[in-house]
């Protein structure tokens, strides 16, 4: 009994780390732009497709495909960032919603147009099980956990100590003041956006071996899972996002086991509603950010 619960918690942590890497990018983009990026899941999809393409068409190894997937997403994110996201500095919130929803549709349907709407089989990665503490996990999941920890430690350090991190925090606090003291706001926005998209792509490539199937619409689900996480974590809060993702992952895992798999997706949306009702500023900050 106890070991089952422990195993489900471990499952939840692994699921949570995937959510965390995707959501942290979305929350940082919200921080600097005040806009929810509804196309965020699409960068996750693009990364996966890039890697799938590298393996299936270019015959590269899985390791090399990670690089291809992330780099190709960075290129696309640069173009989108340059032509769309930078123009949204200071724009009203609804234009952000419309623009990112539009981008999501364009990216998704372009991929479907080029590669077809069907599922693709992702053949790379490390799927053999390993036993840890008596629980059996695919090697790939251990890699996901480790990468997630590295990413979050790295981001914490970046946000606290580097010039880019500091300017990101400054922009998220007050855009006008940043412009007055000479911070290049559009540049900060572009960099944050690319970083966020690259993290989403990385998460996609890392999960592809355990999720096996790759298809154009796969990003939607991820976008809707990350929404409750970034709201729970407090919009723009990196550390909060990490814990929120873990909480959601574990809660989903327990619900799937003890209530039923079909109720899994309700956890996120129920959380979203409850958070918006009682703590719209998230679990981890004391003040509303907007």
């Amino acid at each position: 009994m106890f070991s089952t619960i422990l195993e489900q918690i471990i499952n939840g942590i692994v699921t949570g780390s995937v959510y965390a890497i995707v959501a942290v990018g979305m929350t940082m983009i919200f921080g600097v732009l005040r806009a929810i990026n509804f196309a965020h899941g699409e960068y996750y999809m693009l990364g996966t497709f890039g890697a799938w393409f590298a393996i299936d068409y270019l015959g590269l190894s899985y390791e090399a495909s990670i690089v291809v997937g992330v780099l190709s997403t960075i290129v696309i994110a640069y173009v989108v960032g340059k032509f769309v996201m930078q123009r949204m500095v200071g724009a009203p919130a609804e234009s952000g919603v419309l623009a990112t929803l539009g981008i999501a549709l364009v990216l998704q349907n372009t991929v479907i147009l080029v590669f077809g709407g069907g599922y693709k089989f992702f053949s790379g990665g490390y799927i053999e099980p390993v036993s840890i503490l008596g629980f059996s996990l695919a090697e790939q999941r251990v890699i996901i956990l480790i990468v997630c920890l590295i990413v979050f430690i790295g981001l914490e350090l970046m946000v606290t100590y580097t010039r880019m991190g500091k300017s990101m925090r400054a922009v998220s606090q007050n855009v006008e003041c940043c412009e007055v003291v000479g911070i290049d706001v559009p540049q900060v926005v572009l960099r944050t956006f690319i970083l966020g998209a690259a993290l989403a792509a990385l998460s996609g490539v890392l999960t592809a071996p355990v999720n096996v199937s790759v298809y154009g619409g796969m990003g939607e689900l991820i976008t809707f899972k990350t929404l409750p996480i970034i709201i729970m974590g407090g919009l723009g809060n990196v550390r909060g996002t990490f814990f929120a993702a873990m909480i959601l992952g574990i809660a989903e895992s327990l619900v799937a086991t003890y209530v039923g798999l079909q109720f899994r997706d309700t956890v996120g949306f129920a959380t979203l509603i409850l958070m918006l009702m009682w703590r719209p500023h998230g679990l981890f900050s004391t003040q509303a950010r907007f």
């Binding site: 195993e7 499952n11 479907i112 799927i127 695919a138 355990v210 199937s213 619409g217 798999l261 079909q262």
Partner: protein
């Protein structure tokens, strides 16, 4: 800045809109000019079931090409209008309306998904358009058809009730399973297959130890599989989606269920791609399908060859049933002697059509009498265990 952008965007979108309007106008005009048999195909061309849609369209297109190359039906060529249902009832209904109102089709084949077909039935009925279903298996579709109500719906596909009975019987009698876990897709198809399984399992002393349904697009089955590992189930009854099977198989491998728990039911366990995803898990899997590429009849073998030559890919069940249904419809139109829908419907209810799996006739619920083919994966290859037919027990009205 914002202002100029909005204005520019407005100009560009107006230009695109007028161009699209012009294009559709032109193509519709051109199509209305010739005398063809207009056949609509509703199938999921995007979304989680898109692969089924692609196979359906390819199968139907191959049949149309064969018929047209042979001179058409009494000189009339068939033209296919494909519409995307995305696998959802809402999109399926609007796709059906579009085919009827804009493309002016007389016949519709569709959909793969039972939930979509059930939603399409009243639409086709209102318009008086012949709806031929080729791939949905929920029994409700023909409970409500023929003497059950809808006069314009026919189905050329075996039902879940047959499938559930055949699978349960084989698993219990030949494999000796008694404890089953359910992991099926949360749809009219997955749920009804389990309802019928529950109806027949007690006859074979089988019991269900856990019951879970997954949403289309679900990718994480670890929690449920861990539960199944601990509750002592010998087999997982899965009526699911082909594209989800590899995910479940890999996660079963991860949790050490390979060789301990067997997959039974239906979800394309037999394709090369699925077996390759986790060969150890799929060994021994039992599946019942309407048709399989390995089915041994000259017509079936010829179809596989033609399909491979045309699309450079092995056909699946959906490619076959759509190919077969187009041929069935062509024969009905030929026997009716005119493309008049009422006459074709009468011809269809009296038809004796020779398909690749046996002779097809329709009962008073417009349901084709068809066998189910049962297979088991042995040494990484599907091995056919026989074809079984069972009469459908309709509920009393």
């Amino acid at each position: 800045m914002t202002k100029t952008l909005t204005r520019r965007a407005f100009c560009i979108s107006t230009a695109i809109l007028s161009f699209t309007a012009l294009m559709t106008g032109v193509s519709q005009h051109a199509l209305a000019a010739d005398e063809t048999i207009r056949l609509g195909l509703v199938s999921p061309m995007s979304g989680p079931n898109a692969r089924y849609g692609a196979f359906s369209l390819h199968g139907a297109e191959l049949a149309v090409k064969e018929i047209n190359d042979a001179g058409g039906i009494d000189g009339r060529k068939i033209e296919i209008f494909s519409a995307d249902s995305q696998g959802t009832p809402v999109e399926g209904v609007s796709a059906t309306r579009r085919l009827i109102d804009q493309d002016k089709v007389n016949y519709i084949i569709g959909d793969v998904s039972s939930s979509v077909t059930l939603a399409m039935q009243p639409v086709a009925e209102d318009a008086g358009v012949l709806l031929l279903n080729a791939a949905s298996s929920n029994p409700k579709i023909t409970y409500g058809a023929g003497v059950g109500g809808y006069k314009w719906t026919f189905r050329n596909y075996p039902t879940d009730e047959n499938r559930a009975l055949i699978v349960a019987k084989y698993a219990a009698e030949q494999r000796g399973f008694t404890k089953f876990a359910v992991l099926s897709v949360d749809s009219d198809y997955g749920r009804s297959a389990i309802t019928f399984t529950k109806k027949y399992l007690p006859d074979f002393k089988g019991e269900i130890v856990s019951e879970d349904y997954y949403k289309e697009g679900e990718v994480d089955f670890r929690s449920v599989l861990a539960k199944i590992r601990d509750n002592g189930a010998q087999a997982i009854i899965m009526y699911g989606l082909a594209d989800t099977t590899p995910i479940i198989a890999r996660q079963m491998l991860e949790l050490g269920l390979a060789g301990k728990v067997t997959l039974i039911g239906n979800g394309e366990f037999n394709t090369e791609k699925t077996i390759k995803s986790a060969p150890k898990v799929l060994e021994g899997a039992v599946e019942a399908a309407a048709w399989l590429p390995a089915f041994d009849s000259p017509e079936s073998k010829a179809f596989v060859e033609k399909f491979m030559a045309a699309y450079n890919e092995a056909p699946n069940n959906h490619a076959y049933v759509h190919w077969d249904t187009v041929h069935l419809l062509a024969q009905a139109i030929k026997e009716a002697g005119s493309p008049d829908q009422g006459k074709v419907r009468d011809a269809l209810s009296k038809i004796k059509y020779k398909s690749a799996v046996g002779e097809v006739t329709f009962d008073d619920h417009n349901q084709a009498r068809l066998p189910m083919i049962l297979l088991q994966i042995e040494d990484g290859k599907p091995s056919i265990k026989g074809a079984y037919a069972a009469d459908i027990q309709y509920p009393a009205n």
